[in-house]
Structure formats: structure tokens, C-alpha cells
Amino acid sequence: MQQSNTYVIVYSAVLTIILGLLLSGSAQILGPRQQKAIALDKKKQILGAVISAEEIGAMTPDQVNEFYENNISSIVVDINGKEITDGGVTAEKVEIAKDYKKPADQRSYPVFIYHAEGNPSEVKSYILPLYGAGLWDAIWGYIALETDMNTVAGITLAHAGETPGLGARITEGEVQARYVGKKIFDESGELVAVEMMKGEGKDYSTDDHKVDGMSGATITGNGVNNMLKAYLSHYEAYIKGKSQTAVAGL
């Protein structure tokens, strides 16, 4: 009896339904908590561009939310640097990964403004999201620019599937620290971004636009370079607009 086709078919169907119910049930129950965890993780990544991973690691989830609430304000701009205010778009809701599939001029570009505790007018730095392709899968991150809109205040990088010990090192604080203090515009005002070089162990401290590479992870490094260049150029209009007002303010 157990070998009959009907038995096999019915057995498989019943099993599928039971397991399916189990899975969708658990997804329903855990869903809200997962959404919270994802939102918290995003805030941690944004903050990661301006404060160290150790400091964030020491905070409880509530502290992260509170710090974010008090120190980050955000706007959304378009490719021309104009603020988008209609349609209820908020920077936190923009999904960079989904937006990435659209042509560059149709995406929304969130800007996270890091300011003094509870005082949005005293800006410390501007945090911009990044998204691109590494060697195996997507890479993303956030770059923080100082108020001169030229100096890198910090960067945080993450990846979906780079090689552990090689490309995956972009998540390490030591690699990310190499970007701090670099400039994204050259003397003539041309956007050159910051380039990660091939090979590791050379000293680029005198060069404003180059950082030491990661040995064995040149393609991931190139991915980071392309991502930086692309996203900084998408934000160029906004950045230039800001730096002009900064100069006028002087």
C-alpha cells in the first residue's frame, strides 16, 4: 500500500501543506521583530560612518535608537541635488538596493545629517549611502563627508558574500580607517573620489586620493572604487550646492 502512487502523492501533498503552514506561521510571528532588527541594523550602519564599531557595539538597541534620534536628521534629494519633499518619502524608507535597479536619474538619494546632540543646525558631517558590486555579490556602505564637503570623515562598508579573510576585510575597522582624512575633489574641483590601490603595505598617507589596497582582494577593492565614484557623482550636484553655501557662509 505504501508503495502505491496515490499514497506517495497524498503523503507528499499533506507533508508540504503541514511544513508550509509551519513556516508561514513562524514568519508571521517573527516578522515584526525581524523588521525591528533590520531597521536597527540600518541605523547602526549609518552611525558606523561617524562613530567607531566598538562604541556602537557597546550600546544597547534602545541607546542606538536614542542616539540616532538625537544626532541624525535626514533629507532626500534627487540627482540634481534638489530636496524631494512630496510623496512622503523619508530617507530611512529609501531602499538603496531596490533603487539601484532604476536608472541613476530616477533614484531617490537620502542624505543623513550628523549633528550635535539635539541641535540640527550644528552639522558635524553628511552621511551618504553607497551601493555597488563586489567580486561575488553586492557591497554597500555609508560615507561621511565633513562640512567642507570634500574631506572624508569616515566610511563604513558591508558585503553580502565577499571571500572571508580577503574581500570580506572591507568590513574591518582597520581597512575603513584608511579612508579617513582623504579628499574626494582634486585642486581643480574635479570629482576624483578615493581609490583603493592594488597591493598592500604601501604608504599613501601623503596622497589625498589613494588608499592602501587589500592583498588578494583587488576585485573587491575595484568594486569599492567603482561604488564610491558612482555614488559620489550621483550626489555631486548636492555636494557642490552645499560646499558653495559653505564658502558663501565664510
Binding site: 507533508l15 511544513l19 532588527a37
Partner: protein
């Protein structure tokens, strides 16, 4: 069946002790003599991939233990109903469900771990230890014994990957569970002294070397020879 005959039946066959000698062996055998990694050479891929640090390795070990033990119990309970022609796919469906549950729970309660381990948690499905135990044991034994068998195999797997991770994190990153042991030891010997970490340990090659050494030590002690 009347109460009398039922009593007799119980008298005739006294229940086996919860941890009888035979059952202890089911748990203990896979720890060393029948170890899934070092003797049966199963589950190598994850042993290489997740063992760069202790913490994710521990989460992986717990997840695998949960999946193997529970899958063994579930399949053992179903074993008399499973049509043999589709038994592999039935096992796979059960394992995949359990693994998805683990991954969903991690995503909700330990998101950082989920991010770090996501691919490898999914790959528990393909961990040969899981399917191996289902086919070799759970399909022909009672649920409780199957659970013990699953626990034994999972513990055998766990202690090996934790040992590998201990040495890889210590030598590769100079720390244990994220605590910077090398920095501390270096500071004891004055400011000019520093222990260097070995980048090779962070790559999968390092895992092969450590695993090889463990197998060597173990086989020297047990005298096991491959036939």
C-alpha cells in the same frame, strides 16, 4: 487487552534505562571513534567556512545540534509512514523546514549573527552529517534513540569545529571569543614585544592545516587506520 496481561507485558520487558550502556554508546561513539568530521570526513565545508572566529562557530554548532537532533526525532517518528521511493525528498523537506526556522529565529533575535552566518545556516541543509544520520539511523530506530544519536553526532561535529576555531582565531586574529589575548600577553613583556598574527590562519588553508593536525593526533591515539 485486560489490565492483567498489560502488567505482565510490562514485567516481561522492563523499560530500558534512560541512559543505559547502549544508549551512552550511541552518544559517545561519534565524539571520537566515529567522529563525523575526523573519521567519517563529513561536514568539512562548514568546518572550513565558519571557523575563523569562536563566536559564529558556537552559533553554528548550536544550530547544527538543534537541526540534527530534531530532524532525527521527527524522521524517526515518521519512519513507518514514509514511502521509501520519496524518502530522501521527505527528509530534505523536514530538514529544510528546521533550518529555515533556525535562520528565521536568528534573524529576529540575533541579527548580527544572522548576517555573518546567513549563507552557512542555509547550507546546514546540505551538511552531509544531517542527511547521513537520517538515512543511517533515524529511518530504522525509535525517536529517543535517534535523538541521542543526533546529539552525539552533532556534539562530535561541534567540538571539532570549536577546536579548529579556537586555534584559527588565536593565531589568525590574536583573540579568543573576541578578547584580544595576544595584545594582553604582549603587554606583559613590555612595549617592544608583540606577538604577530598569521594571516594564513584566517584563510580556509589554515582550517585544513589545523584539521589535519587534529586528525593526526587523534589517529595516533586511537590507532585508527582507513581501510
Amino acid at each position: 487487552m485486560s489490565a492483567e496481561t498489560l502488567e505482565k507485558a510490562i514485567e516481561k520487558k522492563p523499560a530500558e534505562a534512560l541512559l543505559s550502556k547502549r544508549r551512552k554508546r550511541i552518544v559517545a561513539d561519534p565524539l571520537v571513534d566515529e567522529n563525523p568530521i575526523t573519521v567519517q570526513v563529513l561536514g568539512i565545508c562548514s568546518a572550513l567556512a565558519v571557523t575563523t572566529q569562536m563566536q559564529p562557530t558556537l552559533v553554528m554548532a548550536i544550530s547544527v545540534t538543534f537541526v540534527v537532533a530534531l530532524a532525527n526525532v521527527v524522521i524517526s517518528m515518521m519512519r513507518n509512514t514514509i514511502p521509501s521511493r520519496v524518502r530522501i525528498i521527505v527528509q530534505l523537506a523536514v530538514v529544510a523546514t528546521l533550518v529555515t526556522l533556525v535562520s528565521e529565529v536568528l534573524k529576529a533575535f540575533a541579527y548580527d549573527m544572522y548576517k555573518e552566518l546567513s549563507v552557512f545556516i542555509g547550507l546546514i541543509i546540505t551538511n552531509c552529517i544531517v542527511m547521513g544520520r537520517l538515512e543511517a539511523f533515524a529511518m530504522g530506530n525509535k525517536p529517543y534513540d535517534s535523538m541521542l544519536d543526533g546529539l552525539g553526532s552533532a556534539l562530535g561535529y561541534s567540538w571539532i569545529i570549536l577546536t579548529v576555531a579556537f586555534f584559527r582565531e588565536l593565531w589568525g586574529s590574536g583573540s579568543v571569543f573576541g578578547i584580544p589575548v595576544f595584545d594582553y600577553v604582549s603587554s606583559l613583556f613590555g612595549p617592544d614585544f608583540s606577538l604577530a598574527t598569521n594571516g594564513l590562519m584566517v584563510t580556509p588553508v589554515g582550517a585544513f592545516i589545523i584539521l589535519g593536525l587534529i586528525v593526526w593526533v587523534q589517529r595516533t591515539k586511537t590507532g585508527y587506520v582507513e581501510h
